[in-house]
């Protein structure tokens, strides 16, 4: 299909919306009803010492599905990857609505994370021309810095307004996983979804779009 046609433009915007909804849906699946076992201390004395029958029963009922690790924040990773590659596919209004919906559905303080994520995406869009010429390493560093920045800003604003901020070690863990998964997200974005950077000649033809 023609890369520049309005049909493709709106199709890709719809695709981003669909992707965001799909990510939210997977977040909401009722399969992680347990807190992370990673930080839970071992309880003493062991249950076998107090109540052997109960311990045996629990061992039988145990499904070995304890939640060991934090998943990455895929929504913001995809938003960043798309913003750098094709700013016109993810307009500010769409990003704001998506992140606000995520805030509402995922029990975060509504508005704050959406605001920070939107600003970060716009920042990347403004730099997309420079980042286009740079290597992937530069992009990765920029994304990592921005993710850390909005994490800190989120924490500072919440602390100033006396709202208990999310657990720091969990946030850091999620940040690390998101940064590590970012190359995969970029690979999927460009190869599977076909969201690639505009070639230089194409950019000129596009004019103001890029």
């Amino acid at each position: 299909m023609d890369e520049l046609s309005p049909v493709r433009l709106w199709l890709m915007r719809a695709a981003f919306t669909l992707l965001a909804l799909l990510i939210l849906l997977f977040h909401l699946l009722p399969i992680d009803t347990q807190p992370l076992t990673l930080f839970t201390p071992e309880l003493l004395p062991p249950l076998e010492a107090i109540d052997p029958a109960e311990a045996r029963l629990r061992a039988l009922l145990d499904l070995e599905t304890s939640r060991m690790f934090v998943g990455p924040d895929l929504l913001i990773a995809f938003a960043f990857a798309w913003s750098i590659r094709r700013p016109e596919y993810v307009p500010a209004l769409l990003l704001a609505l998506t992140f606000l919906l995520a805030d509402l559905l995922l029990q975060r303080p509504p508005g704050l994370w959406a605001l920070l994520a939107l600003l970060a995406c716009e920042n990347l869009k403004g730099r997309s021309r420079n980042l286009r010429d740079a290597t992937f390493g530069a992009e990765w560093i920029a994304v990592a810095l921005l993710l850390t920045g909005i994490l800190l800003a989120n924490k500072i604003v919440l602390s100033i307004l006396l709202i208990p901020p999310p657990q720091l070690r969990l946030s850091l863990l999620e940040l690390g996983v998101t940064i590590l998964i970012y190359p995969v997200v970029v690979f999927v974005t460009s190869s599977v979804m076909g969201v690639r950077r505009a070639a230089p000649g194409e950019l000129d033809a596009l004019g103001g779009r890029a």
């Binding site: 939210l24 849906l25 997977f26 909401l28 699946l29 009722p30 399969i31 992680d32 009803t33 347990q34 807190p35 992370l36 076992t37 930080f39 839970t40 201390p41 071992e42 309880l43 003493l44 004395p45 249950l47 107090i50 029958a53 045996r56 039988l60 009922l61 499904l63 070995e64 599905t65 304890s66 939640r67 934090v70 500010a92 209004l93 704001a96 606000l100 919906l101 509402l104 559905l105 995922l106 029990q107 975060r108 303080p109 509504p110 508005g111 704050l112 605001l115 939107l118 307004l161 709202i163 999310p166 657990q167 969990l170 946030s171 000129d204 033809a205 596009l206 004019g207 103001g208 779009r209």
Partner: protein
């Protein structure tokens, strides 16, 4: 064509910046509104969840089923071994059941002898878990029962065995349950058999710690923790779990409910505990004469 586009960009540039500024102001306003008037925005959140999540159930149910099937696959592999263990466990449970039945009869006889009046039994609504909180920072689940079924904020929620959490946020068709493990959960509890009162305060770990305990020396590992009903929001006597300690020496609760897989939850209907009337009506003359007058009649009717 190209000229046309580049011309339009001169207009979209400032316009785009204006739109961005507008969006930033709107999002900041939403956040500040939430900070100032949290209940209103939380109600809006409940409405959004209420209108969206039940409609996505057709998509979520099969995926959840598939994920659970894959998880179960590991336990299929040790099926026969598990079957044998369960059989022996069942036989053991049968003897326990017999003992429990005898104790129940004995208890009923003793209660009858002493004319003890028990609380009316609690009734409950059972709901299916539609969704979880969606992030590791919060521990809550969404049930498919809501204001339509007469649910009220603050009611207790149990699985088959123990307390799971309390209702917080009721929509028309859905209700959110804040789990005991959530960092915002505080449940007044009694530790039996010593009768010490304490608060079970969630901290986003599997075993919530115990706060405000008067005398930790009286508490031993393995003691039962049950809800105390202080504050009148919760019914009394719901099992929460057992006392255990972490390596740092802090007391924690080993929860009785199975948080690993929450599928069906019971919401207990509770209309508040009766408060003690402060009016000393017994001492007044009227009350004495009235009770004197009533006594012979009562004796006569017996």
């Amino acid at each position: 064509m190209a000229r046309d586009r580049s011309q339009s960009s001169d207009y979209t540039g400032p316009l785009r910046r204006l739109l961005l500024a507008f969006l930033v102001v709107v999002l900041a306003a939403v956040f500040l509104l939430w900070r100032i008037d949290s209940p209103r925005v939380e109600r809006f959140r409940a409405q959004v969840t209420d209108s969206l999540v039940p409609n996505l159930d057709w998509a979520m149910a099969p995926v959840t089923g598939a994920v659970n099937l894959m998880r179960d696959f590991r336990s299929y592999q040790r099926l026969s071994e598990q079957n044998r263990e369960l059989r022996s466990e069942l036989r053991r449970m049968q003897t326990w059941k017999e003992a429990a039945l005898q104790l129940e009869q004995e208890n009923a006889r003793l209660l009858d002898l002493n004319n003890v009046r028990l609380d009316p039994r609690l009734t409950y609504v059972t709901g299916v878990v539609l969704a979880d909180s969606g992030s590791p920072f919060r521990q809550s689940v969404l049930l498919n029962v809501g204001a339509r079924d007469g649910l009220v904020e603050g009611w207790a929620t149990m699985d088959g065995i123990g307390l799971v959490g309390r209702i917080s946020g009721v929509g028309q068709n859905t209700a959110r349950v804040i789990l005991l493990t959530d960092a915002n959960s505080r449940i007044p509890a009694v530790i039996q058999p010593s009768g010490q009162r304490a608060i079970v305060a969630g901290d986003n770990s599997v075993a919530p710690p115990i706060d405000f305990l008067e005398n930790p020396d009286l508490v031993r590992p393995g003691d039962r923790v049950i809800s105390s009903g202080d504050g009148g929001v919760f019914p009394t006597g719901l099992l929460i779990g057992q006392i255990a300690a972490d390596p740092g020496g802090r007391l924690r609760v080993r929860l009785a409910a199975d948080f690993e897989r929450l599928e069906f939850l019971r919401v207990l209907r509770h209309h508040g505990t009766d408060t003690v009337v402060t009016q000393p009506s017994v001492i007044s003359d009227d009350a004495i004469s009235a009770s004197d007058a009533a006594a012979p009649i009562a004796a006569a009717t017996e």
